[in-house]
Amino acid sequence: MATLRDIKRRINSIKSTSKITRAMKMVSAAKLRRAQDRMFALRPYSDKMREVLLSLAQPGEQDMHPLLKVRPRKTVEILVLTSDKGLCGAFNTNVLKAAELMITDLKNEGFEISISTIGRKARDYFKRRNVPLREAWTGLSGNISYSAVQEIASDLMNKYIDETFDELYLIYNEFRSVAVQNVTRLRLLPIGGMEHEEESEMKDFLFEPAEEEIFSRLLPKSVEIQLYRTMLESRVSEEAARMTAMENATKSAEDMIDKLTLEYNKARQATITKELMDIVGGAEAIKD
């Protein structure tokens, strides 16, 4: 049986663990709020951007810009978004599982796959399995700067235009609420061939400067904005997942401390009883 000192030592060690998990939860909560503010600020802009694009990118105008053009798909690029750091529950595992599934599906259908990753966890995952990566970006999970997003977006667009791949999907955690994050798949490129929800009447827009020039500025911008939004969503989800994970860890540490304290008290009581019996026994022996 564990001695009193052993139990005491375990209680202390779990106590300090719970202190750390509680602190991490607090840090995540603060980071979550900050990232969330940025995401909510961006949402109206990216929604409006999409609206403008939808009203402009009318079918039959695919030749206007290479990013609008739908090519027969041979190679599909999958961009997997994970975090750099762990300790965030199933956050990364969920994304990686979904990515793996999609890759197998597409392979079975006979498409070529190319994989890129954002975040250290995804990179390490594919490296361990000896899967070649086209590109791996890391170190972005702190404060995502817009210029870093621009860099990634321009690489993706260049590779699309020079036909390294014919379609680009993002796999990431979409933020629903602090408790719920959904793994989502989003087609980023080509922009063309978007389904028009309802047959909205097509307006004849006046363009100034010419339509081509507006497209050549608006389209790359919209890709950047979408990527930026996705990365922010993933970031917010990461902190939310970490917060939940740390909350659970703190709770189970507390449960364990309660259980051990009970055990400790029982053991202490047993020692006292034993000592008492010894004393009583000794006194009895002297009496006679």
């Binding site: 600020a41 802009y45 409006k48 951007m49 403008v52 004849d204 827009f205 100034e208 400067p209 608006l218």
Partner: protein, 135 residues
Amino acid sequence: MADKLTLEIVSPYGPVLKEEVDEVVATGSEGEFGVLPGHVPFVTTLKIGMLVCKKGGTVSYVFVNSGYAEVSDDRVLILADSAERAEDIDVERARNAMRRAEERLRKQEQIDFARAQAALDRAMIRVQLAEKRGQ
């Protein structure tokens, strides 16, 4: 036909403005343009400049740092890289930025000329707007 325009300005840093107005004048990349209710559908790129909106007898100004404008169905939608109302402009900061940009342009060393020029434009228009506000 409605006799009002809905002006909506959004930037990546959040919505800036949503208002019913009578008239909007903005700086397009090809020149200034005005929008009144009943305007034809119209799309243009915007350069760094000011946006004027008139409502009743009052005139208000917004700083717009390039972007796009879409006009359709009596709605003016501005997608700006950044934007701020005249009353929110930090004059001190703009003046400093203007000085820095001028400095850089004067020295003409290894600088990205276009970037410095853009910084100067931004600062100048901000200061102009801030002065208008003071009147």
